[in-house]
Symmetry: D2
């Protein structure tokens, strides 16, 4: 595996963890309805992060395009999570933003 | 690809479709909170169905074990969906039961 | 699930099947070395097809972008498979081209 | 996310990295044919590790069963990789054994 991917793999894992933690926590909130878009984006974001991790570690020929898509989904998920005051949402927004930035650089 | 897998691949795709449709529809219901466990299991079930499809079509050496796990998750998702009167839940319960049966046979 | 996705989901499933069948068959060929790039792209292509199926059935907000990426990977996999005379490669090239076209339309 | 999963998530990521690195390196070896079973198992093992990471971080109700299956596949991949002298195979065997042990404990 290319060593330059290390930081990005780490950011994707942290983002995946934060998104899935937020997905699980949103489903346990009192007002789940308010969290519907957050739940939807948490899943989409965790899934593309897992996909990007697989691509980066396997020398997938489309790793740049996959990281670019990952960055886009992370930015959108960060935007949604940032709207909610729950700690899991705020943490998720931060992890998504960080991951989006690192993935963006990887895609250039 | 082994032809005997055809029915099982088809059942897994139908189940994945029904689970993801139910996941999406539950997130748009008025009472999302009541659907939280359904949303969680829909995701888990769609994911294992996608995993089983990949395993069956790629001659994965652990295809029997994967189909067995898929059957277990499908049974559990069917059980949860069957509790709710929404049409998407009832359809999902039926697709999950069908898929569970076919996967069980595949795992023997 | 949006009904307009039906043709695309079917094309992605056929492509995933053909790619994984080709992946498995390439690994059983006498000259595996000649098939190395084909094996690599078969995996990458099957994986993005599975990802696109999940996205289309779950109303993922990034379904267009995912289908666009799927189309790119399918085109590249078709190009590689078309170089080889094995029946599994020729069938895979055809399924990939078909899937690429349908995914491209979906992404517009 | 449950903190007790941390060690297991880390082991799964290390195993996924080692399997995908080995998959990529095997495809670049002179004698790819000798590595065919290794390539096949590397993919299967990386895939179940990614699946287990998703399950552990999202509070999937079947996390124990998924970790048990992950352990089985890791043991088998370790066994195959251990047969080959390439550094990437030996490293992979070690990462798989470690992951298998941690996943086994998680599944009890």
């Amino acid at each position: 595996m290319n060593l330059k991917y290390d930081e990005c793999i780490k950011a994707c894992l942290e983002c995946l963890k934060a998104c899935n933690t937020c997905f699980d926590a949103c489903l346990q909130e009192d007002d789940v309805k308010m969290m519907a878009e957050c739940i939807r984006l948490d899943r989409a974001c965790a899934d593309i992060c897992a996909f990007a991790i697989q691509a980066m570690t396997s020398n997938n020929p489309f790793v740049k395009e996959i990281c670019q898509l990952c960055a886009e989904i992370c930015y959108r998920c960060a935007e949604e999570c940032a709207k909610h005051d729950h700690e899991h949402c705020q943490k998720c927004a931060e992890a998504c933003r960080k991951c989006a930035e690192v993935c963006r650089e990887m895609s250039l």
